[in-house]
Structure formats: C-alpha cells, structure tokens
C-alpha cells in the first residue's frame, strides 16, 4: 500500500540546534500513528514541517508520492493535510458554529461569492452543523468561543480540523489540559476518525497512546529511535534507555 504521507531524510535546524535529524517515516491511510518522545524531541517540529508551518532544512515531504516540501500551508490544507495545535488556535471572536463553518466553506467552495449571503451556502452550513453535532457542542453552538470552557475550546480546535475534510489529521496533544472525562471523549473520537482517515497523534498521555494507536514512532533528540506496534515499543530497550530516570515516562516502562 502506498503511504499517504511520507518524509524522507527530513531535517530541521534552528540556528545550531538540530530539531529534526534525518526523519524518514511513512504514514498510511486509516491508521492511527502516534509520535511520542520526551520534551524537545522534535514532535511538534515534525508536525510543523509536515503541515508547512515551518520549512524543511533538508529532505522531502511527500503526499501520495508527490513532493510537497515547498507547498504553502493553505495548499496543503486543500490537499487534506489538516492539523490541530498544542495551544488552542481558534477564531476567538466568532461563535462555535462560525469557527467550524469557515473551514467547511473553504473546502466546499463559495468563498469568492461577494454579494451572496452566508446562509445561501446550504451544503457548507449543513456540514458545519453535522460537525458541531458530532462534537456534542450543540448547546454552545451560537456562543462566542472565547466564553467557552477550556475543554470545549479544545473540541472546537479539533472540530475546525475535522471541518477541513482531512485526509491526514495531525493532532498535537489534543488532550492537553483536559479532564479525564473529556480525554475519554476525545480518545473515542480519535479512534473513530482513524477508521476514516490517517491520524497522526502527538501525545504525552502514554497510557492513552498505548491503548489506541496502531503504530508508534519514538523520537529522541530529533531522530527516530524506534517504530512499531505499541507492544513492541513498550518492550524496546532503546526506548527504555531514552526515558530512563524520567518519572514522567514511568507508565511506558510499566506496560510490559
């Protein structure tokens, strides 16, 4: 099977610091790939380079075999490479519905219509409504997102990415700062999504990662030190070495 996203010898340096060092990985459709690693391992940088927020210092990014390393952000989004941010990046002054709607409008079209009313784009509005439904945000749909609870804002963050009609969804710590209940909700959602599209998950909650992922990639100091199914990774000696002494990663060591 052809990978939907692949990177080849991807490099990214910041001044003298190498954040990504020859990262080559393949991401397949309908697969939940998690990327784990200690703080500063380059996980977010990897997502930033794949989605175009940052340029690559070397190497290539491919989408279905086509090189997209120099494509602009919006062009990649139009191809279906969508993401969420570690720190909420949503349209604060707009309502939940409008936040989602702008994303559906962009992929369904109609943005060039200067004198039509927004309500005239029926399909756009219906899809936005169905995504609001899916996220259980009906009750707050017409509230400005700046007045929402943090967990709900986090859902809007995911909702916007969903509304972009993703083929690959890159989620940067979607459960950060969420309650256990909200985390379960998101986890279920992520599992459902992975049945429809390719999902790349950067996550600190190791227990969550181990239960829901199809495959894991472990980054350490910008390079891949291990890759495989969760069971294999949790038995991997290199991985244990990389995290030894870090209590934050204790659950990883306990899973075997």
């Amino acid at each position: 099977m052809e990978p939907i996203i692949s990177t080849k010898d991807l490099m990214r340096t910041f001044g003298g610091v190498t954040a990504l060092n020859l990262v080559s990985l393949d991401i397949y459709d309908k697969q939940l790939r998690s990327i784990i690693g200690p703080n500063g391992a380059g996980k977010t940088t990897l997502i930033n380079v794949i989605t175009g927020k940052l340029g690559a210092s070397g190497g290539e990014v491919f989408y279905r075999g086509q090189p997209i390393t120099n494509y602009s952000v919006h062009k990649r989004v139009r191809m279906g490479i969508c993401r969420t941010f570690q720190i909420n990046s949503i349209f604060m002054g707009l309502t939940v519905y409008e936040n989602i709607r702008i994303a559906t409008q962009l992929h369904l079209g109609g943005s060039g219509r200067v004198f039509a009313r927004r309500t005239s784009l029926k399909k756009v509005n219906q899809e936005a409504e169905s995504i609001v439904d899916r996220l259980n945000l009906n009750e707050v749909a017409y509230q400005s997102v700046e007045n929402l609870a943090y967990g709900d804002q986090r859902l809007v963050e995911v909702g916007i990415a969903l509304a972009c009609d993703p083929k690959v969804l890159l989620l940067d710590e979607p459960t950060a700062g969420m309650s256990p209940k909200e985390t379960r909700h998101i986890a279920r959602l992520i599992q459902e999504l992975a049945k429809e599209v390719a999902v790349v998950l950067v996550e600190h909650d190791v227990e969550l990662v181990m239960t829901i992922s199809d495959r894991l990639t472990v980054l350490h100091q910008g390079g891949i030190i291990a890759e495989g199914p969760p069971q294999e990774i949790s038995n991997n000696c290199d991985v244990k070495d990389a995290y030894l002494g870090s209590t934050k990663w204790a659950p990883l060591l306990e899973t075997d």
């Binding site: 919006h74 707009l94 519905y97 200067v114 439904d133």
Partner: protein, 352 residues
C-alpha cells in the same frame, strides 16, 4: 440546529438584505432623513458640510472594511481619496470635461491600479510592518502631489495646473462643473450644492448597501477569519495574502470613490488632503463611530466634522478640544458609538 438557517419568510427587501428588521427600518429612516435634509437645511454652507460628512463617512467606512473586518491598519487611507481625486480632476481637465461618470470610473480604476502593487507588497508583511508601509506609501503620494508641480499644481492644488489643460478648461480657470446625466436624462449639475448632495447621497447609499452585502457574504466570512486568527485562517485553507489583497483593494476602491465625489464637490484637490494629519482624522472617525459596524464610521465622520466645525468657529485652538473629546470617547466608549447601540440591543436578547 436548523432553526438558525430556516429564517421566517420576510419581505423581499428583508430577505435580500439579510438584515434585522430593526436595523433595516433604521436604515430606511436615516436615508429618508438624509433625502429631506436639503429641504430643511437651505444654507449652502451647511449643505456643503453635510456632503463632506457623507464623503468622509464613505472614506471612513472603506477604512473600516480594512480595520474592522480584515484586521489591517491603514494609517493614511486619505491618500487613496487623494489619488482618485487627482485622477478624476486631471481627467476632467485634460481629457474629457463633460462626463461625470467617466471621471468617476477613471478615478476609481486609477486608484486601484496604484493600490494593487502596493497592496501586493504590503500583504507580504504582517501587523505593524503593514501599517508602517501604508504610512510610507502615503507619504510618497503626498510628496509626489506636492512636488510634481507641472501636473498636480503643487501646494495650491489642481487649480494651479489648469493652465496646462484643455484650452476650454484653461480659459475658465477652474475644474469645470459637470452635468449629472443618467442615460438620456439630465438630473442636474454639480454647480448646484443640492444636486451634488443628492449625487453623493445616492453613491454613498449604493456603496453602503453593496459593502454591507460583501461583509456578510462568504467572502466576508473569510476576511473575518483572517482578522480573528491569521495563522489558523491559513490552516483552514485560506490563502491569507490573496484575501488580504482583496480586502485592501475593496477598501482602496471605496476610498477612491469617495475621492472622485470630493473632486465633484470641491473642484480642487491639494496635497493637504493627503497629509498624515488627515489620515489620523479618518482613523479617529472610525474609532469614534465604532469599527466593525460599517455605519459607525459615518456617525464618527458626522460627529468629528460637526465638532470640528463648531469648535473651530469658537476657538483657534479647536484641535485641543477635539483631542479631549476623542480621549473621552476612547476611554469610555472603546467600541465607539456603534458599540453603545449593540450593547443596548443585546441586553434583552441574552435572556432568550
């Protein structure tokens, strides 16, 4: 969920405008008031003043499209009024001293031709750099208008350049008055202040309605997204630079429209009008009236110009008092006068 999109069937006018019936009623009332105004205010000086309020209101509204709806700051938006006024004036003097509509078209098109590459450059920067570039270009236009004496007439304005124009115009020594024709019908002449007033009112109302449509359109939704969060906007697939450029061109085109109206009213344009001080005044009008509302800037222009008129006839140091009033309004009405009204209107509906 669906009760939002299934609006109750309303009148054709309401469905077309998509506006709240109260706002629509208010709009019709205000326009009706403006239509009868010259019958009440018969002093040509005040008729001229009201026309200027409408023209500057249009300019302030065009800045609001940029500032309130796209989130971009233009320090010297008056320079685009100036460019259009010079273009329309020069066209009337040198090419065609008869057609008002052609002069208007030339003014707006010329402004947009200048604004296009400038905007192209500006949208490649963000935030403060964008605002500073608008100032740099504004200063450039000002200097050109001031120093290119042979074409622009320099300090004294276009009247000083009349001698180079068509013989017929040069003889008269002024930018000619123009007939207001609509198809075969003659509706008036710009020598009559009332006729100019109605011409300006008509153009302003049409421009307002079209701009209102635009900001409420899917395109307006894109501009709003850019205003709220530029990075996220690109991450939903918006080509941010392209849409910023569209917003910029719309704003400059509308400012240009105001510029051509200015030329019909004043029959002269001098570099003063393109000065940075004037640019700051336009910005104040938008802030006074409230940005992001479209009608607020008209109110702001009205308040500002009337205030300036009253104070300058009472004291030489009117700027100080204008400044005090502006400080007061900015401190106590940060969202402008328009913000006050939406504050009052929102109260009852929140309990729904």
């Amino acid at each position: 969920m669906s009760n939002r999109t299934n609006q109750a069937p309303g009148s054709l006018l309401r469905r077309w405008s998509g506006a709240h019936p109260l706002s629509l009623g208010g709009f019709v009332l205000v326009v009706a008031g403006m239509v009868v105004l010259p019958l009440v205010v018969t002093n040509p000086f005040y008729q001229n003043l009201w026309t200027r309020i409408l023209i500057f209101g249009l300019l302030a509204m065009s800045l609001d499209v940029l500032l309130g709806f796209t989130g971009l700051l233009s320090f010297m938006h008056n320079s685009y009024l100036g460019l259009a006024a010079y273009a329309a004036g020069l066209f009337t003097i040198n090419v065609n001293p008869e057609s008002l509509w052609l002069a208007m078209l030339v003014g707006v098109v010329f402004t947009m031709i200048i604004a296009w590459p400038v905007g192209w450059l500006q949208v490649r920067t963000g935030g403060l750099a964008f605002a500073l570039l608008t100032m740099a270009f504004g200063m450039m236009y000002y200097t050109v208008a001031w120093k290119w004496h042979d074409v622009t007439g320099g300090d004294d304005g276009l009247v000083a350049a009349i001698e180079h124009g068509l013989p017929k115009v040069a003889e008269e020594g002024m930018v000619p008055y123009l007939d207001i024709n609509l198809g075969p019908w003659n509706l008036g002449n710009t020598s009559d202040p009332v006729h100019v007033y109605y011409l300006v009112l008509f153009i302003v109302v049409v421009a307002f309605i079209l701009t209102h449509r635009m900001v409420n359109s899917p395109l307006g939704a894109v501009l709003e997204a850019i205003r709220e969060n530029e990075e996220r906007a690109s991450f939903v697939g918006i080509n941010v630079r392209r849409f910023k450029l569209i917003g910029w061109l719309v704003a400059c085109g509308l400012a240009g429209l105001a510029g051509t109206l200015w030329m019909f009213l004043e029959r002269n344009i001098a570099p003063d009008t393109m000065h940075a001080f004037e640019g700051a005044e336009v910005l104040m009008m938008v802030l006074l009236g409230g940005m992001g509302s479209l009608w607020g800037p008209f109110l702001g222009a009205g308040i500002f110009i009337l205030l300036k008129d009253c104070l300058s006839s009472a004291t030489e140091h009117w700027e100080i008092y204008v400044g005090l009033v502006v400080i007061f309004l900015v401190l106590f009405l940060p969202k402008g006068v328009a913000g006050l009204s939406s504050m009052l209107r929102r109260k009852p509906s929140e309990n729904k």
